[in-house]
């Protein structure tokens, strides 16, 4: 679950960087390369995150519903942070006797 949580956080951070840093740079400062760079990095990390979701589902750590929740949560800004907190709660519940 640790890898999935880290991937969720990384995905959320790069999505925020894309919206809050790269897009203003493009539309205010005219630096279109910023979106290309941030978009590529975010795209790669989004794929890594989805891969972790599939692996965790196959491992039995999350069910179908959880996998859908994580996927759609990752599509909105700050959704990744909410996902990470949900995963942390799931881990704590699984570890509890």
């Amino acid at each position: 679950m640790t890898g999935l949580r880290r991937a969720a956080l990384a995905e959320a951070a790069t999505l925020l960087a894309l919206f809050c840093v790269a897009m203003p740079l493009k539309y205010i400062a005219g630096a279109s390369w910023a979106v290309s760079v941030a978009g590529s990095i975010h795209g790669l990390l989004f794929m890594v995150f989805v891969w972790f979701v599939v692996r965790s589902w196959a491992e039995g750590l999350i069910n179908w519903l959880g996998a859908f929740r994580l996927f759609f949560g990752a599509l909105v800004p700050l959704g990744g942070v909410i996902n990470e907190r949900w995963l942390r709660r799931q881990s704590a519940e699984a570890a509890a006797p």
């Binding site: 790669l44 794929m47 891969w51 692996r55 589902w57 196959a58 491992e59 039995g60």
Partner: protein
């Protein structure tokens, strides 16, 4: 030169990734707990990073060669995503098996042949580029004629790569080799 190096790195990481997937699929078919534990570490340290690196180098190749508008690449990306999902399923089952909680019925006999068929389809797409003619037909003739005088069509790859038959892993030279 950068294009050629990216291509070499893409191929190397691809071989490592597919090799790791085959090893996991075979190991799940004939499970030995001590080997599964070692393979789990190998998958985490080598195979999975190789998959991510293969994605990254593939994106670099597509950007440098200007291949993104081509239909064959869209089809290839779809198949690569399915292959990545398959690796995710294999890795998840491996981790469960290494923890000793796998149902013996869940050997996933079809996962290996499905993966190999996917790899074969991906290689066929890259080498034959079967949808390139379709892409060429999508070019607006007027726009193509206007742009043709300047040496570039609306859906042609950048940096001297042509629509059909050459570059990437197909015949002919690399986009950068001509420069």
């Amino acid at each position: 030169m950068i294009y050629t190096l990216s291509k070499a790195a893409h191929l190397v990481t691809l071989f490592v990734w597919i090799g790791g997937m085959v090893a996991v699929a075979v190991a799940l078919r004939y499970p030995v707990l001590s080997f599964l534990k070692q393979l789990k570490t190998y998958d985490r340290v080598v195979t999975s990073p190789a998959m991510v690196a293969a994605w990254a180098f593939g994106i670099m190749l597509a950007v440098q060669g200007g291949w993104f508008p081509h239909s064959w690449l869209a089809a290839k990306i779809f198949l690569v995503l399915v292959l990545s999902g398959l690796h995710g399923v294999l890795a998840g089952r491996l981790r469960r098996a290494a923890a000793g909680t796998t149902d013996p019925e869940e050997s996933g006999r079809l996962l290996l042949p499905i993966g190999l068929v996917l790899v074969a389809l991906i290689v066929l797409l890259v080498t034959l580029k079967p949808l390139s003619r379709l892409d060429a037909r999508c070019v607006d003739p007027a726009a193509s004629n206007a742009a043709g005088a300047r040496g570039s069509g609306t859906r042609r790859p950048r940096r001297g790569a042509s629509v059909a038959g050459d570059n990437y892993f197909g015949q002919g030279q690399d986009a950068y080799a001509r420069q």
